[in-house]
């Protein structure tokens, strides 16, 4: 496959994970500006595990996801009383603290005559697990895409399960969820931890595809982008965030004449899109209609108009 296409597809895969993590929190009614923190923690932690400790990426994945879930759960517990905009700003503050801490951290050890480890704003380099194990870009892309397919599959299962409806109930009306006997606090912390783990997965793949990551890769731009992807693609299905990422990275990277004007075109496009589709392209109503179109059983009434988390 064409080298450029491989790198675009790998990128789409990596960024879809963080978009999915923001989407999961949106389902529970929370807007996070801080998912880039867990993407960054994923990139750094896994990079340290493979480059400094010499373990394989397969060992790094569960370790990193656990670490990210733990730190995200901790943030979730600390911020549990905050709602709406207060939660968003708190996550933003946390993510910026993580980024600045990475800028301020230097911890290098000598391995084979080379200094390896986080080096302040110079970032973390030499994450060469894929190169050392002769995994070509093409194969790495398949690793990313297959993992993404598995995670998306789990998302579909979740959305059709009791857990999915609990998350959406909490997102639609917290008080209603509580009166239904749902332990809102526990589910919210669980959702935050899960979202952290999913975002870190994106960071792991990003770090191992790029081989060098910088703290500035995980600034607030990444966080707001990941939020925007879900909203552009649509909040009705886990395919929404993927569609958002494809539209941004896939479409605009591929079309050459928009190079250099990419954000002027994309920014305007998104603003106009949101005027006509305030819950994205694949919103709940459209997803429901599509589902009905593919099913020939008796038609059910469309779901009630969903609640906007930012307005509550």
């Amino acid at each position: 496959m064409d080298e450029h296409l491989v790198s675009i597809l790998t990128n789409i895969g990596g960024f879809t994970f963080i978009a999915l993590s923001a989407y999961l929190l949106l389902l529970t009614g929370e807007i996070s500006f801080g998912q880039q923190a867990f993407f960054g923690i994923g990139a750094y932690f896994s990079g340290i595990v493979t480059a400094m400790w010499g373990l394989s990426m397969w060992a790094a994945i569960p370790l990193t996801m656990l670490a990210a879930a733990f730190s995200a759960g901790l943030v979730g517990i600390i911020t549990i009383r905050l709602r709406g905009l207060y939660f968003s700003i708190a996550t933003l503050a946390f993510a910026e603290m993580v980024r600045l801490a990475l800028v301020g951290t230097t911890w290098q050890v000598k391995i084979d005559g080379e200094m390896i480890g986080p080096n302040g704003s110079e970032g973390l380099g030499n994450i060469r697990w894929a190169l050392d194990n002769n995994i070509e870009a093409n194969d790495f892309m398949w690793i990313v895409l297959i993992t993404l397919a598995i995670v998306m599959g789990l998302f579909f299962l979740m959305e059709r399960s009791r857990l999915g409806s609990i998350f959406r109930t909490i997102g639609a009306d917290r008080l209603l969820a509580e009166t239904q006997g749902i332990n809102v606090t526990a589910y919210k912390v669980a959702a935050t931890a899960l979202a952290g783990a999913i975002a870190s997965l994106g960071g792991i793949f990003y770090a191992h595809a790029q081989t060098h990551v910088y703290p500035e890769n995980f600034d607030v731009m990444l966080g707001v982008h990941s939020l925007a992807y879900g909203l552009i693609g649509g909040l009705g299905t886990a395919l929404g965030p993927l569609l958002g990422v494809i539209l941004d990275i896939g479409f605009l990277e591929a079309v050459e004449w928009v190079q250099g004007y990419r954000m002027i075109a994309f920014g305007g496009l998104v603003a106009v899109l949101l005027i006509f589709m305030p819950r994205g392209i694949l919103d709940e109503r459209r997803v429901h209609r599509l589902r009905m179109a593919f099913r020939t059983r008796k038609t059910e009434p469309p779901p009630a108009k969903t609640h906007d988390p930012a307005a509550s």
């Binding site: 207060y86 910026e96 603290m97 925007a228 250099g260 954000m263 603003a271 305030p278 307005a311």
Partner: protein, 299 residues
């Protein structure tokens, strides 16, 4: 000790600029209950318009200041039409993401037109240091402080002594009730937006004129400084915005002097985080009951 007082003094002057940004944020948030992430970038458009006039016509600081304010207002109108007027009620999340999209657009527009990394901006002229009891103060800083105080005074008169101010306060208090009283809420929001953009334009001019380099990163900085200062003071409160801005300025200045730039930014976010956890209502928080009620109304 003298250093401590000196840093505090410097912090207050920078904080005055932050306070103006926070006031603009609070005004918009008050009437709309929505977050305008494109506030800083629209000020940046004004600052770059000022730079453009300075570079091409060699203009003095007054025309540059006027151009900055006009640019900020024009960009503000664009943001209001695209992200708030056009997006229907009940879609606050779409509004916020839309302001982010417009932010990206404005930032890229500026980098395409102004490809250099930094640009010069006119200062308020060559001025001496004022000295008093071993403390120094740059004359520009004193002017900045004076203009900020003047702006706050004018704003107070506007909000509490005019019909327009009354309608802004009514919409902030309860939009539905304001509409029933015959207030054209759309027009009030539009005018409050212009007012906030003008205040932002002045703040942007002052901040850039005392540190005369312009970069496309200004939009990001202005948004976050204003946002942090607003949250520290308490959302929707103008006295809070002033207190938050000054507090932020002082803390940043001290941390910068003691530990350098990374710790300065770190301290700003840590302060914000701690405030959100332990005192979400900000400096100007009312009692618990009133705060709960206010939070329910605002968010």
């Amino acid at each position: 000790m003298i250093d401590f007082i000196q840093n505090t003094l410097d912090g207050i002057t920078i904080g005055a600029g932050y306070a103006l940004l926070a006031i603009g944020f609070t005004l918009i948030f008050g009437v709309l209950r929505r977050l305008n992430l494109a506030y800083g970038p629209s000020i940046m458009i004004g600052v770059f318009l000022g730079t453009f006039i300075y570079l091409h016509f060699d203009a003095g600081w007054l025309p540059v200041a006027i151009a900055t304010v006009i640019g900020a207002i024009l960009a503000g109108i664009y943001v209001e039409r695209m992200c708030f007027w056009a997006i229907k009620e009940g879609a606050a999340l779409a509004s916020m993401v839309s302001t982010f999209a417009i932010w990206m657009q404005l930032e890229e527009l500026v980098t395409v037109i102004f490809p250099e990394r930094t640009y010069k901006f006119p200062t308020l002229g060559e001025m001496d240091y004022l000295e008093f009891a071993g403390l120094e103060m740059r004359a520009e800083h004193l002017i900045m402080l004076g203009i900020a105080v003047l702006m706050v005074g004018l704003l107070h008169v506007l909000l509490y002594r005019t019909r327009f101010g009354l309608s802004v306060r009514a919409v902030s208090e309860n939009p539905a009730a304001a509409r029933f009283m015959g207030i054209n809420t759309g027009r009030v929001i539009f005018r409050a937006f212009i007012l906030a953009s003008a205040i932002g334009g002045v703040a942007g001019f002052l901040l850039v004129a005392t540190d005369p380099t312009v970069t496309p990163k200004f939009g990001l900085q202005a948004t976050f400084k204003g946002l942090i200062a607003m949250m520290l003071g308490g959302m929707g409160s103008i006295p809070g915005a002033i207190a938050g801005g000054v507090l932020l300025g002082i803390v940043e200045r001290h941390m910068q002097a003691e530990f350098g730039a990374i710790m300065r930014d770190m301290a700003a976010y840590a302060l914000l985080f701690l405030f959100l956890i332990f005192r979400p209502g900000g400096i100007m928080a009312q009692g618990v009951a009133a705060r709960e009620a206010a939070a329910l109304r605002r968010v």
